[in-house]
């Protein structure tokens, strides 16, 4: 029965302790373990490479060898469920957080969350951001009640570690340097057109954006942001929203 052949083949691919399935031979070997290893290797290397292309900054931080070892453990524990490898590794950050050999790199999981968010933004639906002229038409007195549709690519990652700085230093956007003032950073990843931007959000910015994403009116979102951080600056945040191409629609005015 071929279904059982497929089952035993599939099990032996991810469990290298298993002997190779029966029914597999070669012209020069009754049990061609080395040849079966080509398939085992293709599977693991292919999936590790998928993670490598999605998490290049994590790889840069830990080095190729460490990354390959860590990714290999993840691949064997949680192989993908679909052929859509662009989404494979959404759980990689959570895995890193529990991966004991990486526990000293307390920020690593959050950097992985940022990289995962970045690729989600890359593949997100397209939408045309609002221009400045469309905002000029708004009635200033009614502005607190409006709801803002954020661009479909908006991703927010909050961290108690300086993840935006770490990401920028390891992706080539900034020079590597010691981080003297270690503090939390909230990241925004967004792709208004074709390039993904990764930005550091100002104080209260993450709460503000999350409230807007949750369909809260502008006034309510601003109040929540101010409660989160007294330095929250509404006019600066609004200008940032517009200039960064984060707004794709306005309703309720």
């Amino acid at each position: 029965m071929s279904a059982s052949f497929e089952t035993s083949f599939a099990r032996a691919l991810l469990d290298t302790a298993r002997p190779i399935p029966s029914g597999i031979t070669a012209h020069n070997a009754a049990i061609p373990t080395g040849r079966f290893a080509v398939y085992r290797n293709n599977v693991v290397v292919g999936l590790v490479n998928a993670l490598r292309s999605r998490f290049p900054v994590v790889e840069k931080i830990v080095g190729e060898e460490f990354f390959a070892g860590m990714a290999r453990v993840f691949v064997l524990e949680r192989p993908p469920g679909t052929p859509l490898l662009a989404t494979y590794g959404d759980e990689f950050a959570a895995f890193i957080a529990t991966f004991d050999p990486a526990r000293e790199l307390v920020y690593l999981a959050d950097v992985a969350r940022l990289e995962a968010a970045r690729t989600r933004a890359y593949h997100a639906a397209d939408a045309m951001p609002f221009g400045v002229a469309e905002f000029a038409a708004l009635d200033a007195s009614a502005v607190g009640g409006i709801r803002i549709d954020l661009h479909p690519s908006v991703e927010i990652v909050r961290s108690p570690h300086p993840i935006v700085t770490i990401w920028a230093m390891n992706s080539g956007e900034r020079d590597l340097a010691p981080i003297e003032n270690w503090h939390g950073e909230d990241a925004l990843a967004v792709r208004p057109y074709l390039d993904v931007d990764v930005r550091l959000l100002p104080p209260g910015g993450a709460v503000f954006l999350l409230a807007l994403a949750g369909a809260k009116p502008l006034g309510e979102a601003a109040a929540a942001a101010l409660a989160d951080h007294p330095e929250f600056d509404l006019s600066r945040s609004l200008a940032g929203l517009i200039c960064s191409g984060l707004v794709c629609g306005i309703c309720g005015w």
Partner: protein, 285 residues
Amino acid sequence: MAIIANLPPRPGVGFKPAHFRDIIAAPQPIGFFEVHAENYMGAGGPPHAQLAALRERYALSVHGVGLSIGSMAPLDGGHLARLKILCDRYEPESFSEHLAWSSHDGVYFHDLLPLPYTPQTLTRVAEHIDEVQTALGREMLLENPSTYVCLTESTIPEVDFLGEVSKRTGCGLLLDVNNVFVSAKNHRLEPLSYLESFPIDRVKEIHLGGHDEEVDDNGAPLLIDSHGSPIANAVWALYAQVVARAGAIPTLIEWDNNVPDWRTLCGEAITAHDILADASRASAA
């Protein structure tokens, strides 16, 4: 009425985003581009922007690597639906997939895994291809695999299996000449005799790619279908014999790993072009 595969009988190239700027900068001596379907299943962003720009300028082949047609389990209906959305959106000249399986019991292995060739698996593969062609409303091409081991359950030669599947379902075939060479060397068989018995009249596309040369545990040659190097001279020679016999067939250059610059890749396509031109002249004479 199903849409029939109709790539131009010229060289094509597997598209890599790293080459996009070079490709768009000027007209290229390329008959078509081929993309892996699974890389274009996101909602938007640069992948779709690039594919739309290519589609405007060139014929397109959509090549699936994840449908697991050779699996005994039912096809993944969700994945088939995604393929339909992609084909409806870009209206490619061809859609192709592999005689292999890549998923089992909810796990995707990201590799093309071998199946035994038996009357039972033949029926199953033909059912799957019927399902794909019905869902997509178009003919699909089925590609011969490269293999590293023999399966004792097999009772039908691969060429006969492919021919019978094509006969039952009406699907076209995609002849990967590098795969023929790799499998023949790995199983100590003669690639030419495989090609001579291949149902060439059903072939609507050819693939050419590079392989790596290794050795197995017993020191015998073991070729790996790695798509990471130039096409081997022996594979070019086999290809020349195929098109001398069958005439010009759309021919794809596959180079997926250690991707070279556009000029180098284009050079491989020009080599294929010259061989195709010789074949066309010979058949016209």
